[in-house]
């Protein structure tokens, strides 16, 4: 017997009332929470605003402290600079007078308007006041020379050399050159060069090397200095790793002249060859030889322009030498410079120190002799070298240039691809020099036939179309049996969908066939164009590469002796009197 449970309808009104009250309470609570949220938001805004004010205050305070610090630094610098200047004046004031006097004597002698007695008296006076400065005996020597007092000139010269061999040697070399005493100037210059460290040369020396190469110091200067340069090169070559470094330096310098291909060259290879980058690099490398040949021929072609401006530059060097600070003055000069920069930067010590460092770096920049001649040969515009020193530098570095060029050439030749791959759409092929055109054309033709067949085979009706056809047929028959127009329409729609799918399929097949017909028509043309470019590329490469040996022969014809120039400066006639 089944048990029946009868549940009478419960009276839920009390519960419903309670729930409604609870709902109202929750509503009130939500409102309160909302209010608290708003308050928190307001508070947060206030905190944020306070934070901003505090940040601004901190920034203002920091700026104030900074400004105060700068003002103090400025004040300190202004006071200190006076002290340092006074101290400097006391210590080295006479040095400045000596410099001014030397400069004046050089100018006056050029013009021939001051008597040698006056020069002699003033020079001797200065000698008594500056006991350590090399320029004082230098000055005495100059004035003794002008007064034809050889013993005094020699004595003063020895003292100057004792005080600062480096500067004194250069000074006497430049003075003798100015007086057109070629033999003396050459000997002094060689002495000056022999005192230098070939791996740590001043950048300014390029002017002197340039002057030597241009014949400003005469034939004697050229041959004596060339001998010194040879000694340097020999000395440098004996240092470990030097030869490798020099060869790499020249390789880089030569490679920097590599020309780029025009954007319209080899359009098909760019598009259809997967290793175009390699072809591009090889071709650029082969064109380098012609560019280098033109570059070096240009260096050695034509007359060397007059060296008058170079002679002026050498004279400027003399002016600079006699007006330059002595090494004793340097620490105090640096202090003075920093203080001047602090004043100029309105108390900003960091910016002032930065400026000081830049100046110091520029003054202390050094380079090796080989770096100097590499730059003079390959980048004369940057190195500030003339065509004469370009010739000289190339002639001196010939063996390195040949070695670097040989390495570059061999590297380029080793990188030339034997097989050149071609990729047109989904077809891949390769050729060496377009010799297999017929084979590739056949390959691409059969590839498209196979691809088309593969694609066509994938274009089939989906099972749902067949389901629609069968179900549509059954529903139509059933609709006709029951005379139900609705079922007939539904059934016919199913059959119609099948035929629509079939029509679309045919359309897709036609599209695929058209696409492959296009490919069959265009791809052989593209392939032929690519192969033609491969042939051109090989010819182009071979033509460029053949220049390598021409250039090698050309390098062989360059000799140092041949390219030490024959142009001479007449010196200053006034000093010859």
């Amino acid at each position: 017997m089944s048990e029946e449970r009868i549940i009478s309808r419960a009276d839920l009104s009390a519960i419903e009332g309670g729930l409604a009250a609870l709902g109202a309470e929750v509503g009130t609570l939500a409102h309160s929470v909302n209010q608290v949220g708003n308050k928190v938001e307001e508070m947060s805004e206030e905190v944020s605003s306070t934070q901003k004010t505090l940040d601004k205050l901190a920034a203002d305070f920091e700026a104030f402290v900074q400004a105060d610090l700068m003002a103090k630094e400025l004040q300190l610098a202004q006071t200190r600079i006076i002290e340092v200047r006074q101290l400097f004046e006391k210590e080295f004031g006479q040095y400045d007078e000596v410099r001014r006097l030397t400069s004046g004597i050089l100018q006056a002698t050029d013009l021939g308007i001051v008597r040698s007695d006056t020069i002699k008296r003033l020079s001797e006076e200065k000698m008594l006041t500056s006991v350590r400065y090399w320029l004082c005996p230098g000055l005495i020597s100059l004035s003794a020379w002008l007064s034809n007092d050889r013993p005094l000139a020699e004595k003063a010269m020895v003292e100057a050399v004792k005080r600062d061999d480096n500067k004194a040697s250069l000074y006497f070399a430049l003075i003798s050159r100015r007086g057109n005493r070629r033999q003396a100037s050459a000997a002094w210059l060689q002495r000056f060069f022999s005192l230098q460290d070939p791996v740590d040369l001043d950048r300014e020396l390029v002017v002197l090397i340039d002057a030597v190469a241009s014949g400003v110091f005469g034939a004697e200067g050229r041959s004596l200095c060339a001998r010194q340069f040879e000694i340097w090169l020999k000395e440098l070559s004996e240092r470990a790793g030097f030869t490798e470094q020099q060869r790499d330096r020249w390789s880089q310098a030569l490679a920097s002249k590599e020309p780029s291909l025009r954007a319209d060259e080899y359009p098909y290879l760019r598009k259809y060859c997967p290793i175009w980058d390699q072809l591009d690099a090889s071709l650029r490398g082969s064109r380098l030889h012609k560019a280098l040949h033109a570059f070096f021929e240009n260096i050695f072609a034509g007359e060397i322009p007059s060296s008058a401006s170079l002679a002026d530059a050498v004279d400027e060097m003399l002016d600079k030498l006699v007006t330059d600070y002595d090494k004793d003055e340097l620490p105090m000069r640096r202090d003075l410079q920093l203080l001047e920069f602090i004043i100029a930067e309105k108390g900003d010590k960091v910016a002032a120190q930065r400026r000081c460092d830049v100046v110091k770096q520029a003054l202390e920049a050094k380079q090796s002799f080989t770096q100097l001649i590499t730059n003079a040969a390959m980048h004369p515009e940057i190195a500030g070298a003339t065509k004469a020193s370009q010739r000289f530098a190339v002639a001196m570095s010939r063996d390195w240039i040949v070695a670097a060029h040989d390495d570059l050439t061999a590297k380029n030749r080793a990188g030339v691809p034997r097989d050149i791959p071609i990729k047109i759409e989904s077809w891949d092929g390769k050729t060496q020099a377009g010799e297999n055109e017929a084979e590739l054309l056949e390959s691409i033709k059969s590839h498209w036939i196979a691809e088309e067949a593969k694609r066509i085979a994938t274009i089939v009706l989906s099972p749902i179309n067949w389901v629609a056809l069968v179900l549509g047929g059954l529903v139509t028959v059933y609709g006709l049996w029951n005379k139900s127009p609705f079922l007939i329409i539904v059934g016919l729609a199913g059959i119609g969908w099948y035929f629509y799918g079939k029509w679309k399929l045919d359309q897709t097949k036609v599209q695929v066939q058209t696409q492959f017909n296009n490919l069959r028509e265009t791809s052989p043309k593209i392939l032929k164009a690519v192969l033609a470019e491969v042939v051109d590329w090989r010819k182009d490469y071979a033509g460029g590469d053949a220049q390598a040996d021409e250039l090698r022969k050309y390098f062989g014809s360059i000799t140092t002796e041949q390219h030490m120039l024959t142009s001479f400066d007449a010196g200053r006639s006034v000093l010859n009197k």
Partner: protein, 131 residues
């Protein structure tokens, strides 16, 4: 020897004797004569006596003049064999990288090292390619 020292040594000009020996590589009879191959390998060791055996060339690749179809021939030092290759044939992977250079008319042969190539001209001058 350090790497730089080996490089400096390998860059040095090859002797006329060595060049002469290497040009005999092309004589077809060597392929069948193990003594001739041994003599060629000994010539390499004599030419570079300072270089330890593990740093000696792993092979030599030269242009081949056996016929129109032949491109290069190789001496595999470790395998002790000489082989002539047609244009269509691939070289062993380590020697293949010297093929373009060896085919070039300016070089007589190329010494193949593990990490470099040295192309040798008929006058013994060398070009070094770091790879």
């Amino acid at each position: 020897m350090s790497k730089a020292e080996i490089e400096a040594r390998l860059r040095q000009k090859r002797s006329a004797n060595y060049i002469r020996t290497m040009t005999q590589l092309d004589a077809g009879c060597h392929c069948q004569d193990p003594r001739a191959v041994e003599a060629l390998i000994a010539a390499i060791q004599q030419e570079l006596p300072e270089v330890t055996i593990d740093k000696l060339p792993i092979g030599i690749v030269c242009r081949c003049f056996l016929g129109e179809d032949y491109e290069v021939h190789t001496l595999d030092r470790t395998g002790g064999i000489i082989q002539h290759y047609r244009r269509s044939q691939a070289l062993p992977p380590l020697l293949e990288r010297a093929r373009s250079l060896a085919s070039h008319s300016q070089y007589l042969f190329v010494e193949v090292y593990v990490d470099s190539l040295v192309a040798v001209r008929s006058n013994g001058e060398t070009s070094y390619i770091n790879q």
